[in-house]
């Protein structure tokens, strides 16, 4: 861009310097924005580097198959915690998926109502509530009445964290279903519920499943809401009315311990968590890409 207004700001050379100065400022600002990217990617790289370096080496077969050893004994693993995490997120899905999907169906089928806005708003609020507060809620509702920590409470807390994500993704994906499909079903004489369950919902199902996967990945890494709901457990347990170990709580306990072997295992647990979450997010990403391609076709 050549300066179009000569002789307005003093002598010639100064005009040049004004225009160049603006260009230089612009250049510097652009470079600084690039530096910002590096500043964010640096911790990401460092975290992944250390988690792999410290964690991958500490993984062994015993880590997957054994329960924690008592203090002072070397070895042991987090087998029970891995199973525990799977059970907990299973319970969460059991709670959040049906409610979330049906609420999402309602929101997309009956748009523009005041009730719909209220539900949407509540889902957004719930999404912003700190997970530790959700833990207190589950504690008061499930743990306190029976005076016992239980996997049900933990799974419920995780389910509450999942719920808003499932509601909003279901609604958004159902809205993307072409209106022709709904109209076709209704024209053939299907009732509204029939049209939803046999035509519209199945059409959006792959996308909704992807959304659920993303929600599960988020919830699998949660620690705070489990601390005083599912608590922890040193033994194998699949009884959902009893306290249950989870990968995240176990990592927290071990990381805070003074024992080198436990700290090593905490890193291994962190590594496993990151791998699970990366895998889930990559699968979800690939699924989204495939969906986009299908939609275009």
């Amino acid at each position: 861009m050549k300066s179009p207004r000569p002789a307005q700001r003093g002598e010639g050379p100064e005009i040049m310097s004004y225009a160049t100065r603006r260009k230089i400022v612009s250049r510097i600002a652009e470079v600084l924005c690039g530096v910002c990217i590096l500043l964010a990617l640096l911790p990401l790289a460092l975290i992944l580097f250390y988690v792999i370096k410290e964690g991958a080496g500490a993984l062994n077969l015993a880590f997957f198959t054994h329960t924690p050893k008592p203090v002072g004994e070397l070895g042991g693993g987090m087998g029970n915690a891995i199973v525990g995490t799977l059970i907990l997120i299973g319970l969460a899905a059991l709670f959040a998926v049906p409610i979330g999907c049906i609420a999402g169906i309602h929101l997309s089928e009956y748009q523009g109502t005041r009730f719909g806005s209220a539900v949407r708003f509540a889902a957004d609020v719930l999404n912003g509530v700190p997970s530790i507060v959700i833990g207190i809620f589950a504690y008061g509702l499930v743990v306190l009445p029976v005076k016992r920590f239980s996997a049900i409470a933990g799974g419920g807390a995780l389910g509450l964290l999942m719920l808003p994500i499932v509601v909003r993704t279901t609604e958004e994906l159902l809205r993307l279903v072409p209106p022709g499909m709904r109209e076709g079903a209704l024209a053939l004489g299907a009732t509204r519920s029939r049209a939803v369950f046999t035509v519209i919902f199945p059409a959006a199902l792959p996308g909704i499943l992807t959304g659920i996967l993303v929600a599960l990945a988020r919830v699998a890494g949660e620690t705070a809401p489990l601390l005083f709901t599912s608590f922890n457990n040193q033994y194998w347990s699949t009884n959902i009315t009893q306290p249950m170990a989870s990968l995240t709580v176990q990592v927290f306990t071990y990381a805070n311990s003074p024992y080198e072997d436990w700290i090593r295992q905490a890193w291994a647990g962190a590594f496993l968590l990151v791998m699970i979450i990366l895998a889930l997010s990559i699968v979800a990403r690939l699924a989204v890409r495939r969906l986009e391609r299908m939609n275009r076709a």
Binding site: C36, V133, I136, L227, N256, W267
Partner: protein, 310 residues
Amino acid sequence: MRDRFRLLTGAVAALVVLIVVGLAFELSRQSTLSIAKFGLSFWTRKTWDPVAGEFGALPFIWGTLYSSLLALLLATPIALGIAIFISELSPRLLRQPLAYLTELLAAIPSIVYGVWGMFVLVPIVRKAELAMPAPLRKLPLFQGPPLGVGMATAALILAVMVIPFTSSVAREILKNVPMAQREAAYALGATRWEAIKAAISYGKTGIMGAVMLGFGRALGETMAVTMVIGNNPQVSPSLFAPQYTMAAVIANEFTEAADELYLHALIEVGLLLFVVTIVVNIVSRLLIWSMKKRSARVMALPAAIEEATT
């Protein structure tokens, strides 16, 4: 038949609203003892002594606000830089991968940040604190022994955790700024950066919303902070001092709360955290929403004009 379907699905949807109301109700119900006993002084007193039954939450409020504000101070410029780079400057090919990588920061679990912070970041911060020249150490900002665990480390970790949230919303906002805004700036002879500044000033409200959203995240963050902040209830401006946050005290002491008053005091802390994060989130959503609504109107303008003239 159709109405029954509407009612049934509506009843399930109402559960979502019910849960939020239930949360507020449950948290207030479970903290009545401490509310009744301490009243407003709960928020202004500094002593937290479970043995003597004395509960004042000021140190936790201070710690939460201080760490979150410091984190915002660090994270906001970086997050905005990222948003600008990805949406305005980066080559098209890099856009998706860069967005994916920065969002990966949000996918890493809090506990992993905590483990990393404890064993990698804390020693680094301790070294930096030790290397600080003595005259600077006299400032209130840098007083206390160089432990590594403390406010500085917590703020650093929080900043990294907040960046992806703020930057992804800011990116969305920039995408919503009408192209005409930048074209007008270029037409007036603006440089690239000046055009970007014009776009940002158009999206001010929404970007404020993005920053607020990050603030809400930082306030409620629990595990990573608990593991690096030092968990010592004190009100101190020092970045080196081990301090405590609201979420951290709940995480650490909840299962140890032996008597009911203690438990109620902890839940009252949770109640405040709930109320504050809700307010922050609502404000941020309103800001983002008002910005999007405005730009939707402007973006619809050319189409409307075309329609009217044909």
